[in-house]
Subunit: 646 residues, 2 copies
């Protein structure tokens, strides 16, 4: 006696669809060009068969996901470069007219930010922010269809282009939204794959995990760190069946992104995005490892300070009535005002001259990663980047210090902007500046002979900038993949060991005492149902007993129910399946496919994985509620030995 | 009415232990030097407190694991280098006496192999082979104490040193046994940690996962690929809580390994093990990607052939009566004979002159990764490595072809040797030779103008060797981490994209049609209870219903059992806990801590992870066997919203 009610009968629907397709192939008197359509359809079906013969349809989906994301990334870079160049050109043309220059400098980013904010506010409000907290939540199994719509894709793409075109004055990045963009493409492609595939299994979960990897990979052309990032943001366990698709898709994305750059004539061949030329003979002295470790600790401490300010402002914007009003109704105005304020501070004739504000984000990073020592080169006109940092004649270290102090609160303020924006790249650049400051100090100290004896090769401050960037961004996001990302971005594998050491130490400091990460703070502030981040704010949550969260009454049917009672139960319940119990209240029948009850007819592989995953010693097995036996590891081993016997 | 029988009452034991410790501190009239001992103990306790204040004791364990493995790795490299040099010196001294040279060339490795085989046969038979299949099985949750004993550690270390000292004639490697060695150290350290730790939670599972990462990391000084390797060999899900420990321990191991190399004077600073000097300006032309893809497909095809031969010889040694007798009783003799045979073939005055047999494994790899083109340099005496490959005056490509043909069956034969040995490095070198052959062909074709027009920079055959090494070893082991390992070993990040592409394609070919990998074949041959590998040999296994593997009768107690019945049940059963049922056979009481039954008092986080991991829609909850309700995603979300309300 088994009762199973499938309210939306998928299989029947599918059958009717396929039969309809067949009918279309044979004859359909209403539509024109019957023969052409039929031939075309047959060709398409043949193509599908041929493609499906080489590998599963989903693999084409993974490849398409990588390539599409790379195309989007390339297009965005292309248009942002044009917009930034236009701004620079206008600013140069107005040379001599200081007031006009001021307005050009401030109004351009202000307008762009206002446009981005009002655009996303009016078309798709869920397109604002980084998107990584939402993606994490979706990867943990919670469906949020708003965040995967095509409207959101469109809005986020245009809004992000505007934000990035506002340049280094608002100091925002691209990574987070790109991870979100690629998950949207992934969700769309997985729907397509399900349509085309023969066996209608759901691939959406897999596609989302893969898309998270592709986002980082095609943003920077860095496949391996993309996959590691995907491993890190996954809920609590990374399924190995996602591993190969992740790598495949990320490799496609990274390769396509770099090939587009080659074909567009930017670079001659595939190479790292921020390629550096560190001296290869002696990248660093072994004892410098200790200084790198110190840098890691410093980055961890600064990240704690930054994250505290960030949490404070998130709280403030939610409690201050003026902010609440501005952020709910006047998003465009607010964004424009904040951008204007930030831009007026960075105006090159004011404080901006002490913080290299004329450089774009990319140029900032490239200048910070420069291998030469600035403090000794400040009078050498041939070295371009350091000139920007000492344009006012002040020492480089002072410029770096001003940059660090100002950008700290400017970054915190920029986080409140309600537009699509990433926060990884700014943090990465900030860390690079922090590392550079220490590196310059060390280089200066060593060149003036404080640490005498090793004068043959000078200290490379660029290496410290690299380690600082990885360590600070890793500490802020509580991840280790920035270490690998820094290496892949610059192509400097020689510094792998110190970068990894600094990142590990910075993470240790940042994660101590259950502090929430940057994304955790946003998750909590946005009230996203993400257990790991919520557990940091409310440590008792994971240990809440099931009894406290259980729904008191569920619809259930008696074994001896009459047809009328069944009818009533179906009408009352919103569930697709209703459990049947006998007169003792004892569970009588459940469908195994969709409900995970440790039932008699479970498959062996499921038992194996439950024993492994939950680190269980014994599994009790019930058949229709009654205990029929138990499974322990020795039993599993026994099965293996029986199999081997044949 | 709940009954719980803990046969080994841990808590009570612990309490008595701590009270005993306290008593020791106060007074113990029998033992001498009471005061000194008391002071020492107090100091140690204080130290433990101080250390525990900075971070958990397990983190010191992870650091120690990395450093100890690195020390072992360095010591082994050191002694192997000495032994190889001694052999070379002797061979050189005997120059002119061809017969003596022959005996020196053949008997040295034969004796070493015989010693290694009989040593491991007599002391610890489970120390033979690679160890990776066994480690995989242990990571999947099955305990095999034989494989983690200290005797095994000792035997494996000495045996492996002998095997490696036999050099490139027997052509065996170090990686696999090192992963095994590090898991043994890990198991020992986890026992130590459990002794020292305050809260006696089991950390052995975590330590084993970490140890798998450390093995590769300290073998090559490559931390990131070590972690990726650990992710890949894990059963089916990689737990994120292992991620940071893995990286930390792998970084410690890699750093220590490289620092030892620096301090021993081998190298000036921390750098890649097989550092190459590829031209950085234009590493490869974008269209060469297609050639790299072709190389990947070729490597995949050759790997299928190699794996087929490997499976055949594994089957042959298990069915052929002569082999069975040799391999059970005369392991030493067999190993010596095979090594003698292999060595006589590679004797430099015979076939060996066509296959660069005078180079060690390391020199072979370095020569193959050389960036210059050999075919055009063959008359240039200043280029050392290519000289070895064309010492007989024959063209380089012919030497490479002979090398590939001979080594194929020699490798297969070497796999039957019953001694501690790794099979990764040989496969890696073989792949490099395969890539080199293609690379030399392409370089020759392009230099003679077949692909004219791009004459300004020549093709780099070393890049093909690198991609071939990664692709072939990845295809043989069905993993992707060799791609990253190849990059970390050589420091050539510029070739990341083509190496990854080649590895992915080679894997696609090798994994098609559910073919077992190298380690899968060994797992099946050794009858290890490892589900993923067994599933490839017997595809129906994972879908076997639970009912078929259930033990028919389990000891259970009636709710109304008399004390005598309880006593009997306890005496009969070998389980530590006995379920209690009521008169309907309905499950009445189970302890939640050790038995995973979806019970009323489960914690919220467990429910969350079960819903996520098993991709379930609904969980039915039973309290004492009776259905009390069900949990779906909306309920979980509801909990979140309640939490957020406060």
């Amino acid at each position: 006696f088994t009762l199973e009610i499938n309210k939306n009968n998928w299989e029947g629907e599918n059958q009717s669809k396929t039969s309809r397709n067949k009918n279309l192939l044979i004859a359909d008197p209403v539509k024109p060009c019957q023969r052409t359509r039929a031939v075309l359809k047959e060709c398409l079906l043949k193509l599908r068969y041929c493609l499906g013969h080489v590998c599963g349809m989903e693999w084409y989906g993974f490849a398409a996901l990588g390539i599409l994301t790379a195309i989007l990334s390339f297009l965005m870079d292309f248009s942002v470069t044009k917009l930034l160049r236009a701004h620079q050109w206008l600013y140069m043309k107005l040379d001599g007219h200081i007031l006009l220059q001021f307005f050009c400098w401030t109004l351009y980013p202000a307008c762009l930010c206002a446009v981005a904010a009002s655009f996303s506010h009016n078309i798709c409000p869920s397109s604002t922010g980084s998107g990584i907290p939402e993606v994490r939540t979706m990867l943990a199994g919670i469906t949020m269809p708003d965040y995967l719509s095509l409207t959101n894709l469109f809005t986020k793409f245009l809004g992000l282009t505007c934000t990035l075109a506002a340049g280094s004055t608002v100091f925002l990045g691209k990574v987070g939204p790109f991870v979100h963009l690629s998950t949207m493409i992934g969700a769309y492609l997985s729907k397509l794959c399900t349509l085309v595939q023969d066996n209608k299994e759901k691939a959406s979960g897999k596609m989302l995990v893969v898309a998270a990897a592709v986002g980082v990979a095609s943003c920077f052309g860095a496949p391996v760190s993309g996959v590691l990032f995907s491993v890190e943001v996954m809920c609590s366990h990374f399924a190995l069946r996602h591993y190969c698709p992740c790598f495949f898709s990320a490799a496609c994305g990274a390769l396509a992104f770099r090939l587009f750059s080659v074909w567009s004539g930017d670079i001659e061949t595939l190479q790292a995005l921020f390629k550096t030329n560190f001296p290869t003979a002696l990248p660093f002295y072994p004892l410098e490892i200790l200084l790198f470790a110190l840098l890691g600790l410093l980055c961890g401490a600064v990240s704690c300070c930054y994250l505290f300010c960030h949490r404070w402002i998130l709280q403030f914007t939610k409690t201050n009535p003026i902010f609440i009003k501005m952020l709910t109704t006047e998003k465009g105005l607010y964004s424009g005002m904040v951008a204007f304020f930030l831009a007026s501070l960075t105006f090159p004739e004011s404080v901006g001259q002490h913080m290299a504000s004329q450089l774009t984000m990319k140029q900032l990073l490239i200048s910070l990663l420069d291998s030469g020592q600035w403090s000794s080169q400040s009078h050498n006109a041939s070295v371009q980047p350091s000139l920007e940092w000492s344009s006012s004649g002040s020492p480089v270290c002072l410029s770096l210090a001003v940059f660090l102090l100002m950008k700290m609160w400017m970054l915190v303020l920029a986080c409140t902007l309600p537009l699509p924006a990433g926060f990884f790249m700014p943090v990465f650049v900030y860390g690079a500046a922090l590392g550079r400051l220490l590196g310059e100090g060390v280089a200066y100290a060593s060149s003036t002979g404080v640490t005498s004896g090793q004068q043959q090769a000078s200290i490379n401050p660029g290496g410290y900038a690299l380690a600082g960037a990885a360590a600070f961004s890793g500490a802020v996001t509580h991840t280790l993949s920035p270490a690998l990302l820094a290496i892949e971005l610059t192509g400097q594998l020689s510094h792998a060991a110190p970068v990894l050491a600094a990142t590990l130490l910075a993470n240790a400091v940042a994660r101590s005492r259950q502090r929430p990460s940057f994304y955790d703070a946003i998750s909590i502030s946005k009230r996203l149902p993400h257990l790991p981040s919520l557990a940091k704010a409310c440590p008792s949550l994971p240990f809440t007993p099931l009894g406290q969260v259980l729904r008191a009454k569920s619809v259930q049917l008696q074994k001896a129910a009459t047809p009328l009672e069944v009818q009533q139960a179906v009408n009352t319940s919103t569930e697709t399946q209703i459990p049947v119990v006998d007169s003792h209240g004892l569970l009588y029948s459940v469908s195994i496919s969709s409900q995970k009850y440790m039932d008699f007819s479970f498959a062996f592989s499921q038992v194996h994985s439950i024993l492994t995953l939950l680190e269980a010693e014994t599994l009790l097995v019930a058949e229709r509620g009654r205990l029929v036996g138990l499974i322990t590891w020795p039993d599993v081993l026994n099965v293996f030995s029986i199999i081997y016997m044949y």
